[in-house]
Symmetry: none
Subunit: 214 residues, 4 copies
């Protein structure tokens, strides 16, 4: 109960609303939604503002360098996001095969949900050397952490050295990303996502074997 009859209070038109994180999230959502619809370079900051029903000033308050900042800052969180998604408690899987299936599926879901971001990211790295380099570093750092936790929890992974495992995961991550991006944004490789994910799993298993022989 807000003390107003008929719930009017909720409709009360306040000129200024204050909720920092909510607004930042709204900017992210709107930005990536628009990119998905019209592509990166046709999505302007003003566009985002209008579409999100937020003033441009607000966008520039949180992202002083505009579009570039939105991608950069989102990117800083995106890895952690993947972490959350891919709950390591799942790694109780009996065998590596099942584990890899999970891994691929998680990446796929993550990619699908963040299609707009992925488009933006790939549109930007070419002209943003810094972002490009940071990306590589972050992927590496992320999997260092990831592998450490993994080896503690799952004996299957203890047969490989930590360094080697990191290398392998970075490879798999890139491989899956490459194929997924193409399937989702350029030209689909299979007519259903289920078939595609199944193929991906097999691809990963094959590539892993290949890679470990090197």
């Amino acid at each position: 109960m807000n003390g107003y009859p008929f719930g009017f209070a909720m409709t009360l038109n306040k000129k200024f609303t204050r909720n920092k994180q909510e607004k930042i999230d709204l900017i992210y959502d709107t930005f990536f939604k628009l990119i998905l619809k019209q592509g990166y370079h046709k999505t302007s900051t003003n566009h985002v503002a209008k579409s999100a029903k937020i003033s441009i000033g607000t966008i520039y308050k949180y992202f002083p360098r505009g579009k570039e900042d939105i991608i950069r800052k989102y990117f800083e969180d995106s890895m952690e996001t993947f972490f959350d998604t891919h709950d390591l408690s799942q790694t109780h899987d009996e065998n590596i095969r099942d584990f890899l299936n999970h891994f691929v599926l998680d990446l796929f879901k993550n990619h699908e949900e963040n299609k707009g971001y992925n488009l933006a990211f790939r549109s930007t790295i070419q002209s943003d050397k810094m972002l490009h380099d940071t990306h590589k570093e972050k992927v590496s750092d992320f999997f260092k952490d990831y592998v450490q936790k993994l080896r503690k929890k799952n004996k299957h992974f203890q047969q490989f050295s930590e360094a080697r495992l990191v290398e392998v995961f970075v490879f798999m991550y890139n491989l899956v990303n490459a194929v997924m991006y193409h399937h989702l944004s350029v030209m689909e490789l299979f007519d259903t996502d289920e078939k595609f994910v199944e193929y991906l799993s097999n691809l990963v298993v094959f590539s892993l074997k290949y890679y470990l022989k090197t």
Copy 2:
């Protein structure tokens, strides 16, 4: 005879006699070179003109809709280009395995040389539905033609139906493209191109078997 005595005209007007195709090629080269350097959305038509030492009017003469036209028109030739590169007389290869190696290598070389174009293409399709669709169609058409010629020349391919083969080639083409693009423009999968191409060949063989089982 150019109508001028002593043939002076040819020499004197040299800088004006640069012919149409020469200029178009110069525009392509400059455009993709710049995209490679600074990314698609930071490369403006005016910029291309200045960098190519050509007037902006000339660019608009050949490409009335600017950037988009450059990509579209280049794309219309690019498939034929691949055709030229991938000489079918090579398909006398004793076995399919060798043939696939050639196929992958040709795609890789082609991709490497056209990195700028690939960046541009991927930057554009998202906001250019028409280009996106035409692309799919063209890939399909190209491989229809390709497969027909292939089946005539090489008995190995006659065991599969034409339609099935086209499907397979489109799949392989996309797969290879996906992984190559990532390796060349996002994050390398192997530390040398040789290792990478070898992996690609194996990947194609594996995927082919997998695909044909479907």
Copy 3:
């Protein structure tokens, strides 16, 4: 007694008890400091707030029309400030020559300390007719008052009519200001301030004689 036992209130609330005048002075100081550093038109109100570690709301509380108000209100005090500085008890100087030396020196010190304000003032008058006019009036009013006091204290000045003296002082004030501003903010006329002030004194004496002959 502040009504709180043990006087804690004064300590606890210290950062909130900063009183009105203190804040106003902080705003003045910060504003003119920034102007000195980056020029008037590159100094924004928000900038001042951040630099002074005061909220922008507070600035607008004291100066509802922002930058312009800061200058206007400061200006309203600045004349009085000069008054304080130039203590009339000094006018016991034996002769006019010594008096003028003092006058020039006071103006110089004042100007040096208020360099930021002077920049701001000169940047503003052009677009603020009202300020411009008020300025002229204030200068005149100030010297009316000044001259009256002067004539009472110092017989040397009783040989001239009050009106004439005011005119003379306004002239001298402007002359000194003009040359000083240039020396301090545009291009120095002498390599040391001492030489400059000495020159100024002579300049004033000369100009006075010239002026009085008119």
Copy 4:
């Protein structure tokens, strides 16, 4: 005759007109005219474009960094302009006194005509260290050249060393500028320009004597 009856051709509304220097001059004139009217920081680039009936694109073509560039580039010519104005053939003046009168008068006319520029210049130097420094250098360079010519033409000036003369002229130039700017833009020192210029001449003579004694 333009071949059109009733001279209509002259009225013909062409969308694009081409005359580089004419446009640059128009930009200068408009810019300084507006500054004179509303002050530097209230004069925007768009304002200038609209007022000059020119597109902003054109302004940015000639002055890629906007307002700052307009001032900088104008400044690069302004010294030469003074040179032209102050024709050295006038230096046949019998004595230095007459010469100085001319010098002051020329500066005054120049200043009066370029009031807008002077306002802009003084509004900018504070935030444009480079312009400030270049200004000093240019003044010095200009008078080096000036003095050389002067000594060749007029025997009166041969009694002083070249270096000394340059120093003296720079000093006089600054002095006159300082007082003139104040008189024209802050608060007039005399009620007519004639009286003012006469005072200036006397001021220069006095200051010169003072300066040379140093």
